[in-house]
Amino acid sequence: MNVLNIALFEIKKSLRDKRTLIFMLAFPIVLILILGTALTNAFHNGVAVGDMKLLVKNTAQSQQLQSYWNGFAQAIGKEGVELTPAANGIDGKEAVQNNQFTAYAEIDDNGVHFYGSSRQTISSNIIQGMLTSFADKYSLAAAAVKNDPEAAQAIIAGSMSAGSFVQEFSIDPDRKPGSIDYYAIAESTMIAFYACMSASWLIRGEVKRKTALRLVAAPIGKMEIFAGKVIASTIINFLCILAVVVFSKYAFNANWGQHLGFVFLLLFTEVLLAVSFGLGIAYLFKDDAVNAVMMIFVQVASMIGGAYFPVDEASGVFGAIANVSPLRWANEALMSLIYNDDLQAVFPVIGLNTAIAAAFLAFVAITMRKREAF
């Protein structure tokens, strides 16, 4: 009962804090809008998505197909795709699995067979988009040749100019993320993590405001206060994320896939992780350092987690750092869930988030019990 009272009061108090509330809602939405539209071209040019290496095995006999393919290869080369002919005996799929290539394509007279990397999802999705449009154009041209050779020429010539393949790729938003789709995910996971900022004030704020004294003097347990606060903060922050997701889905048409329940479950655990993390940092560092530590961590985690630009397959030091960003886990899992229907990608992240949250919460609870007041 006390826990409920404290939680309700805290929620009411958060709702009064219009500035934080507006920030939590407007910041991600504005970022989705700005980055999502401003970087559309970057997405299409593949500049921001890192290397795109395509391994190709071409066994097509058809002259027409061969020459068309060569034109296509040149065009996508200009788009930043690096083509490598597969040497005999090479297992293309394995090469992709080993992360030597972004994708592997086999071209024969029946068409194009595509095998994309599950690690570099964005780049491989882009290449897939290009190949799809290649195949579509080719069959269109092939059909045209029979009736109207000139039209076929025109189709092929038009397709050879740089840019024309890639522009197609966002036409089918269900299979590859457009920039709005990408940023809707990235900003939602980012703002979920921002919950740590307000959470770091949950107890510290009471001490600063001196109301901690009244809470301690009242006939309730510290753990009741603690639980009430964690529950309230998780709920209020999760509601903000919910609003952002729903807004991006309906206002921006962002693709959130077929498994919204799992999307929300994952985001919920991320909020819980952020809240626990914020509380933990507040107990790990001296009061005047908490804000700075939190700010730096959030910014770095956002950046390397892909909130501002997509980080596909980072390597070296950057890659190692990137992997400790909770945003990155969340983003990758959500991408796999939304674009590959890969439920398996979600559970490890949900588990990891929950486990880390539990560790932080236990640490805070123990420290709080030990302390004289809070």
Partner: protein, 311 residues
């Protein structure tokens, strides 16, 4: 029964002893004054009574029960008015009082009734929906009190409830304290204002360096210092005063200057007025009045602690 009983209470912060083997009892129905200069240990003592600080050594009993062993019981019976304002600025006056009262188990219509009663009591009956942000210092102090009384505690502890407020709010608060007392509450009251304590309190303890150095009724405390007397000399050109020379004058214990009045505490048995006045004449100070003071608490405090109650 004693509403509060403190036995051999000690509080250490590291090596620093903030409260030093304190003994004290407050009977039911008293308004008990806690006097001490800055850093004397008043708040530290109060914070131990209200469970904010752990007791290093000794024991505290509220209504005869140990506050550590029967924590809930003592908490239910104490209302604390902290030295620093402890309210939520972004929540309305009503929400503040109702939240804290709710922590004491009040629910539903009783909670509503008590919240309204407490706000009415401190004169904020028409400010239910107002945010403390919009309050004057005095109104905030009154809200600070309302948050402590809605659960009808037997013992109310007020740690400097009148700091930095207008005279009107101060009078309001002083009257509230008397009213609470008439309604059956015992009150522990700390203040830097001697006249408040003198006006309100039935008994007074003087705290210095974490110890109680004197305790009793006003009369009892004043009788401690029959061996000293205080003389107030009004002067026109105070800047000419040589306070050190005055302090060295025969029989003088202490000298302090408050605006245009030199306040001199001297040994009771020596008549040194002549020498004092001679010293002033030597300094070419123009004397406008001379008054022999009846012993007052200010003098008692100064004599016992060697410090002024306010810096």
């Amino acid at each position: 029964m004693n509403v509060l009983e403190i036995r051999n209470l000690t509080k250490k912060f590291g090596d620093f002893i903030a409260v030093d083997n304190m003994n004290l009892s407050v009977s039911e129905g008293e308004i008990f004054g806690f006097l001490g200069a800055n850093g004397a240990g008043k708040s530290t003592t109060i914070n131990m009574i209200s469970s904010l600080l752990r007791i290093t050594k000794g024991e505290i009993q509220v209504l005869g029960r140990n506050i550590v062993k029967e924590n809930k019981f003592s908490k239910m019976n104490i209302g604390i008015v902290p030295q620093d304002l402890a309210i939520y600025e972004e929540m309305t006056a009503y929400e503040n009082v109702s939240f804290f009262a709710g922590l004491y188990g009040l629910r539903g219509s009783l909670l509503k009734e008590r919240t309204e009663e407490a706000l009415e009591f401190v004169g904020l009956g028409d400010k239910h929906k107002a945010l403390p942000k919009s309050f004057s210092g005095g109104m905030k102090r009154r809200l600070n009190i309302a948050c402590a009384i809605a659960h009808h505690p037997k013992l109310i502890i007020m740690d400097e409830p009148t700091v930095g407020i207008d005279p009107q709010s101060r009078n309001y608060i002083l009257n509230s304290v008397k009213k609470l007392n008439q309604m059956g509450c015992s009150v522990i009251y700390t203040s830097h204002y001697m006249e408040e304590v003198e006006d309100l309190c039935t008994r007074i303890a003087i705290v210095d360096h974490g110890k109680i150095i004197a305790e009793g009724t006003k009369e009892q405390l004043k009788s401690i210092i029959t061996d000293t007397k205080e003389t107030w000399i009004g002067v026109k050109n105070a800047e000419r005063l040589d306070l050190d020379a005055l302090k060295r004058t025969t029989g003088v214990n202490s000298v302090r200057l408050e605006e245009q009045t030199v306040k001199i505490v001297s040994k009771g048995e020596i008549n040194n007025l002549n020498w004092v006045i001679q010293q002033l004449i030597r300094d070419q100070v123009e004397i406008s009045s001379v008054e022999e003071q009846a012993p007052n608490l200010e003098t008692v405090f100064l004599t016992l602690t060697g410090r002024n109650l306010r810096d």
